[in-house]
């Protein structure tokens, strides 16, 4: 194992990690806002990937151009899911935690079934795109362009999200509702509206990730499941409720995965991620940056 191989893997790991962060941040945002873990998060990602695929297949829209469209579509989808389903799960008086887990889990199975029904279980891919198949080299380190652009989009999205939460009225309303949902009602903020917009925003972010990933991953109804667990670990590693935690968690997960693949057989690469998660929470039971 030469130094070049190590740097090469770590560089790829960093790019993948930034994408993991982008996949996970929607989950972190929704959890931080209302203490709900969306167990259908992976299926939201799957839907977004299909969105990019169909825009390409029917209208020849490149995934890069499709990304904002997919994100907008997912914004609407997320808000509607909140208003139609999640809102009612939050009204449960008995064992509310389990109700939320299993409502969103049922939604995940339902979405997977619908995807199989309407899109068939076939593996799809976007064979030609502006970025697909290209690589760039920085001093002997080769980076695939789609992943590199995806990582840059992730950094930009996190930057925009920070600005949005700190500087805009809606962002402040999000923060306030998260602090005390009862009190914001007193100053005239509609809690349900904020929650719906929060679900929209969280879903739009995973939509962005899905559109970017559609250009270099196979697309099939179960694709979300493998990324969902990584997203939960990413969020928990960074600390539930922390948007910055999801960013940092993503980078750590990407780097750990790449380093594990250097040492252990490739089929065991996830063991490294899981082991690091356990190690972190055994030492810090609230994750790295978590407040709860």
């Amino acid at each position: 194992m030469t130094a070049a191989t190590i740097i090469q893997s770590l560089a790829s790991g960093l790019l993948m990690g930034l994408l993991y962060g982008l996949i996970a941040v929607g989950l972190a945002l929704i959890f931080g806002l209302m203490d709900v873990t969306n167990f259908a998060h992976g299926e939201f990602l799957m839907l977004a990937m299909y969105g990019a695929f169909f825009l390409f297949a029917f209208f020849a829209v490149d995934p890069l151009l499709a990304a904002p469209l997919v994100a907008a579509g997912m914004f609407v989808f997320g808000a509607v899911i909140y208003l139609l389903i999640v809102r009612f799960a939050m009204r449960a008086k008995a064992n509310i935690g389990m109700v939320q887990i299993f409502t969103t889990f049922g939604l995940a199975i339902l979405m997977r079934g619908l995807a199989q029904f309407f899109f068939t279980p076939d593996y799809r891919s976007i064979p030609t795109s502006w970025l697909g198949g290209k690589t760039v080299s920085f001093g002997g380190i080769f980076l695939p362009v789609p992943q590199l652009v995806g990582a840059l989009i992730s950094v930009a999205a996190f930057g925009a999200l920070f600005f949005f939460i700190k500087k805009t009225d809606f962002g402040r309303a999000l923060e306030a509702t998260r602090e005390d949902a009862g009190a914001v009602a007193l100053v005239g903020i509609d809690k349900n509206k904020v929650f719906a917009l929060g679900w929209g925003l969280g879903s739009a972010l995973v939509g962005l990730a899905g559109a970017v990933m559609a250009s270099f991953f196979y697309i099939y109804p179960d694709v979300g499941a493998s990324f969902a667990l990584i997203a939960y670990v990413t969020v928990a590693l960074g600390g539930f409720g922390s948007v910055f935690g999801a960013f940092a968690g993503g980078i750590i997960v990407g780097l750990v995965e790449a380093s594990t693949a250097l040492i252990l057989p490739p089929s065991l690469k996830s063991v490294g991620i899981y082991a690091v998660y356990l190690l972190v929470v055994f030492i810090r039971p609230r994750g790295l940056f978590g407040s709860i």
Partner: protein, 328 residues
């Protein structure tokens, strides 16, 4: 203890004896092998969900990693039988003991975690187990192990010609799991667990040893889950990591209890009786198309029951709230 609580416990026991007797005679009238298969699976999942309910329902430590103990039970029995000729009955107890010890070992660091951090820890620990078994050549790695056919006998717990012996074992397993829960519900442990579930800090201050209560619940729960895994391995006579240790199994153990009524005596049984036939029938009749109709129906039912009956379907049967087992 007031008399109504004692009365309701006696009523539960009488109902259980009646239902068990009813279940014991059903196979004399139902000869269809597919239906018998569904009945075996229903009893098995009812017992497994009952085991899960002890740790997650009564003690409130939501585990979505019980597939680990299920898989350990299946693998221990099968490995001991195929490699050393140890009879499955001993393998079952060995698997249960190993699982209980591992649950205690894992409980030591994980029971300090709360909420989602704990749930995710249980998921990733089971996933690590799954990946290790995938790469463990001695245990057949990803290819798994065939349980060799050595002729029908109770000693080897193998029956190729009839499902009935499996059915009666599953029935006994289900009854034992129910009785253990019934007994524990009214024991010192049962009261500790509910206190830990409701408010661990308050329980601690009142002298409940929270940590030990959780450890006890984990050990009992893991032991019974592994028995179920050992039974399943004998029943299907072929195991590989994906068929006994995936996240799917962890969820299947939790779902009947959640839909039936989490932390209740009858919830897991009721949930399994509704959910397992639904799963199997939709898969048998609608799953063949490969178009996911079974998943659509299954997912929709879970969403609807969760939303319409958050306290579980058991709420339909009792006038009092779901926590009726708790003396006021």
């Amino acid at each position: 203890m007031d008399t109504t609580f004692a009365q309701s416990r006696r009523r539960d026991l009488i109902l259980a004896i009646f239902l068990a007797a009813l279940a014991a005679v059903v196979p004399f009238f139902v000869k269809d092998v597919n239906i018998q298969n569904i009945m075996v699976l229903t009893l098995m999942w009812a017992a497994l969900s009952q085991s899960w309910n002890i740790l997650s329902g009564y003690c409130g430590q939501i585990s979505l990693g019980h597939a680990l103990y299920f898989g350990l039970g299946a693998y221990t029995t099968t490995l001991l039988f195929t490699k050393f000729g140890v009879l499955p009955w001993f393998g079952m107890v060995a698997g249960g003991t190993i699982s209980a010890l591992i649950a205690l070992g894992l409980g030591y660091p994980t029971f300090r975690l709360r909420g989602h951090y704990f749930v995710i820890a249980t998921i990733v620990i089971a996933e690590i187990g799954l990946l290790l078994f995938h790469n463990w050549d001695y245990a057949g790695a990803a290819l798994g192990i065939d349980v060799p056919v050595r002729g029908d006998s109770w000693a080897k717990f193998q029956f190729t010609r009839s499902k009935l012996p499996y059915y009666y074992f599953a029935l006994v397993f289900c009854c034992v799991a129910w009785l253990v829960t019934w007994k524990l519900e009214n024991s010192k442990w049962g009261f500790w667990w509910r206190a830990v579930k409701d408010n661990p800090d308050a329980a601690e201050s009142l002298g409940v040893v929270v940590f030990n209560s959780k450890m006890g619940a984990a050990a009992i729960s893991a032991f019974m889950t592994a028995i179920g895994g050992a039974f399943y391995a004998q029943y299907v006579s072929y195991i590989d990591p994906d068929s006994v240790m995936t996240f799917q199994f962890s969820l299947l153990m939790a779902l009947p209890a959640v839909l039936g009524g989490i932390g209740t005596l009858w919830g897991p049984v009721l949930g399994a009786v509704i959910l397992i036939p639904l799963t199997e029938l939709t898969r048998n009749y609608l799953g063949g198309s490969g178009r996911g109709v079974d998943l659509i129906l299954y997912g929709a039912v879970i969403v609807l029951i969760s939303l319409a009956r958050p306290e579980g379907l058991i709420g339909l049967f009792s006038r009092k709230p779901a926590s009726k087992g708790v003396p006021q």
